[in-house]
Amino acid sequence: MKKEYKIIANLIKENSRVLDVGCGDGELMDFIFKNITKDVRGIEISKLNVQKCISKGLTVIEGDAESDLYQFPDSSFDYVILGQTLQAFLNPEKVLDELLRVGKRAVVTIPNFGHWKVRLNLLLKGTMPVTESLPHKWYNTPNLHMCTIKDFFNFCDNKKINFIKSLALNQQKLLNISRSNLNKRNFFSEIGIFLIKK
């Protein structure tokens, strides 16, 4: 199981209503279903993944987060999860707005383009960075809008989105992100995990 899944699950209150946007093969949903709340469902673009979710007994809708979130009423979920896919949307801002409309709270995780390995990769090699958390080449990456922890932090700030919890994950540990340590976290963390609300 991906290391951030447990951290995400810990941000979710028991027996709450959860939507996992881009739920993949349902690994996180399955974990949440078994440990946190039975009221969890997903939306996933890949037919194969939807079929995998169904075989695990999970409720999933085949659909595109970019165009299909409109069908959910305002605040119809306690939590909406978006795991490492914000950067893959054509219009991440619109998707984020939709997440915060549909969910009372959103959990958004991002692969950090500001991590020192990524920076070094480009600086020294002069090629687009390929790392553990960003394994694709420039020509086949699904990531259209890469951002750093700092970018996302500032972006939410500008949009007057409230941070309930901001966490930075690197191989060793999980740390809090704040305005004062932002530059440091942005340099040393591979993944940013944010619990936000409007």
Binding site: K47, Q51, I54, S55, G57, T59, F72
Partner: protein, 377 residues
Amino acid sequence: MSKFENIKKLIVKDQLKLDCGQTISDFPIAYETYGKLNSKKDNAILVFHALTGDQFASDINPITKKDGWWKYALGNNKAIDTSKYFVICANVLGGCMGSFGPSSVNPKTGKSYGNDFPVITINDMVNAQYFLLKYFEIEKLFCVTGGSMGGMQVLQFVANYPNVAQTAVPIACTSNHSAQNIGLNELGRQAIMADANWQNGKYAETNLSPDKGLSVARMAAHITYLSKDALQEKFGRKLQERDDLKFSFDADFQIESYLRHQGSVFVDRFDANSYLYITRAMDYFDLNKKYGGNLSKAFEKSKTKFFIISFTSDWLYPSSENREIVIALNSIGADVGYVEIDSDKGHDSFLLNIPNFLETLGNFLNTSYERLNEKRV
């Protein structure tokens, strides 16, 4: 002696008020069952058939001696596993496999009803089949499912009886018949009625029946059940047992011969008037309108867990129409899953051996059944 003498039938003594205003009672609903009802009576699945289907969903149909229409999906160890579940399937009201329909004999006249039979609706079909649950003393169904018109009945069933089915799997269907589909049905009906042997619906008393018309209706409909790619792949421009074109109107092409065959075998098992009545019921189906233009309202009172399935190449009941049902359910926070299965076989995909479809259907049923049992423990 009727050829339907030895099939299972429930004679419904109660009155059933039809949408057209007429009330019927003492009418037969022919049905078949597969598997065993367990002692808790929690493993029952009601399967609804499509336009030309019948109650014989699996095994060999004792009347036609052909395989059941859902042989790939339904049976021992299949997606709808009859070693686990008790499956009930009934011939719809208006049908011609033993249920009350236009070929039934009117006791008042001693003749077949023909087109004196009341116009029936999907709602009437569902309400008629509900009597079977009373007969089997089943309070909760584990699942209601069906494809095409069967899917429409699934939607209507949940709307009418919001807390009877634990799960509902409407497949390749719609919540309201489109203009295209009404048009295609009308084409079929006009083919039947244009046949002089139809005799204004009173052919049952004569030695003639509108076989030509019914066969043309079936040929036209059959094209709509397939996809362009499937037809092209199967037939292309291949010629039928000849080396060259004959410059005539014989069946030069294999596709012509195939359709003619489909038409001719269909008339042996199906009644032309039933075709008129059942296509009419499909055309009248508009669950949105019935709930004030808001489909969500049809399901508001229900806690049923939905799983909707469509097929990529189905242009008769396209994914967009299936998705409308998903959207209506999501907008009221209902428990709904949805998948569009990749298939180039068109609308008929739900009847065929499409492994992804069958696996997904089976997985949904089995995991849902397990989860329901976990809850009870």
